[in-house]
Amino acid sequence: MAQTLSEKVWDRHVVHAGNAAEPDLLYIDLHLVHEVTSPQAFEGLRLAGRGVRRPDLTVATMDHNVPTAGIDQPIADPVSRRQMEVLAENCRQFGIRLYPMGHRNQGIVHVISPELGLTQPGMTIVCGDSHTSTHGAFGALAFGMGTSEVEHVLATQTLPQRRPGTMSVVVDGELPVGVTAKDVILAVIGRIGTGGGIGHIIEYRGSAFRGLSMEGRMTVCNMSIEAGAKAGMIAPDDTTFAYLEGRPHAPSGAAWEKALDHWRSLTTDHGATFDKEVVFDASALAPHVTWGTNPGQVARLDGRVPHPDDALDAGERDSIARALSYMGLSGGEAVRSIPVDTVFIGSCTNSRIEDLRAAATVARGRKVKTGVRTLVVPGSGVVKEQAEAEGLDRIFIDAGFDWRQPGCSMCLAMNPDTLAPGERCASTSNRNFEGRQGRGGRSHLVSPAVAAATAIAGTFSAPEDLA
């Protein structure tokens, strides 16, 4: 029977087939661990007298809490420090490889795994982090989970899972100049909503996705969770294989050829059907900026913030009004007229080398608007090294951007990089929830190019708006 990509990967990982009364038991090929969602899972193992079944399929790093400045100093926040010490101790005790703060391979878990070549097509990949959907860019089935499931995978290398529905998101055609992967996914979420993908695995299909680099595809799949989806996937192709070849953990020699044969089979069969389908015309897309407090509340950069009176029902009216009040907007403003206080370029959505190149291209030879605070936070030690080898750090520093050490940083404000109450931020991250980047902070999600242009202009801008 004709199958979709996600069904193929799912079926190849069933250890024990379920039925109406019992879920499938899925094998997990790779488990990524970080300091925030793992301590209680390791403690659970100790209390139950259980071990880690496959430390060789498990890898850990420190990302959520790490400071992005002064990393040669002891961490000032004792609670953050303790959480990182506990991770190091757990990795020692259970024999798990750890890339700690200061190691060149340390970084955001969803940046380092692809970079090391650990993320490969057709694998099942999990992590106690919702943005695990990122790895779907390689045609892997990758999803986030809570701490109980982290413990489950550590103990068994499996997870009991009910088969989700399938959803196809097609974007065909050529993206207009200036429209990036981030704009595509923001437009998709704007249309299908934050619940549009609940209970489904999205497969992104069509020429617009085929034309994206791996970095762009990771940006798209990363935000699948913001549409509520279990996972997001893109079928692997020559772009995927070219990215993987030669990476430290990618197969080589005869193994590479065998792997390639398998990877080429990872496509949705002709005639396979999806439970849900949506189609977009790439040529109609534009740069996007979120205006509200969830990623579905998004407008075109050349558009206006909606007004509560635009709502279709009382519930929506209420939620627009609440969001506008939190965001300090009245509704109806031109997006381009809104001034920002801070610009954050980073996060598992947009902190890879291509993202930094896109921002640096805009920053080159220009100056950040006086009074605008900026942070550029590379996703990993390797991204930082590469950016510095290309001279991107100099471009940013000369333009007045603050060049930082790798980590999750201002995406979720667990380290000292936070917004103050009322502070307005153009952010390349993934969530504009209330207080996400600091209590009372106002977050607007944008692409790296728009973030950089906004830092220069001081109001939301595209690169072509700059003199």
Partner: protein
């Protein structure tokens, strides 16, 4: 996890949709390495507003949270479930849930009750009119009832999860019962797959 058959009691009406896990427990609380003590962090930003529903004395000692669509979307933090449990909630009623939150709930012993949009709205109005209205959630019959107003509705939970909730089962133990199948699967894995 303790077996759960019935959750009954007063209901807090949180009439908002898209309540994400960053609201349920802000990230500053995630630095703790324990599983306990998160109740004080529950909705901690919203609780700073005196008018917030959880601050109203008539909603004290409730065991059920009733809220809008897409409750628990966003971050995978199970701390959100721990915070709700630690505060005293044993069930959340909503028209829909974030997938990861829903999963996390049933692992930790919080019952996710999905009602139709209209049923949830009817219950919301009833609770807002009478904060003392007693609601009974029966995990065996998969029903929600408010006997005083004659409200009754069914909710879905898959049979496996229902069984685990009713028996209070640790699903790691259930998966380990398939140890032979896991070993057999491992013997078939491709040799090019990466090790860390």
């Amino acid at each position: 996890m303790e077996p759960i058959h019935i959750v009954s009691g007063k209901v807090v009406p949180l009439d908002r949709s898209d309540v994400d896990t960053d609201q349920i427990i802000p990230s500053g609380w995630l630095k703790r390495v324990e599983r306990t003590g998160f109740g004080a962090g529950l909705f901690s930003q919203w609780r700073e507003e005196p008018g917030f529903v959880l601050n109203q004395p008539e909603h004290a000692r409730a065991t059920i949270l009733l809220t809008g669509a897409r409750f628990g979307v966003g971050s995978s933090r199970e701390h959100a479930v721990w915070a709700l449990l630690d505060y005293g909630f044993r069930a959340v009623i909503a028209p829909s849930f974030g997938d990861i939150f829903r999963n996390n709930s049933t692992k930790a012993g919080l019952v996710p009750v999905e009602l139709g949009v209209e049923e949830a709205a009817e219950l919301m109005s009833a609770i807002q009119a009478d904060p003392d209205l007693e609601v009974v959630i029966d995990v065996e019959r998969l029903t929600v009832e408010a006997p005083k107003i004659g409200f009754t509705a069914k909710f879905p939970i898959d049979p496996f999860t229902q069984h685990r909730l009713l028996e209070g089962l640790d699903d790691i133990g259930l998966s380990l019962a398939h140890a032979d199948a896991i070993m057999a699967y491992e013997a078939t894995r491709a040799d090019w797959l990466p090790v860390t």
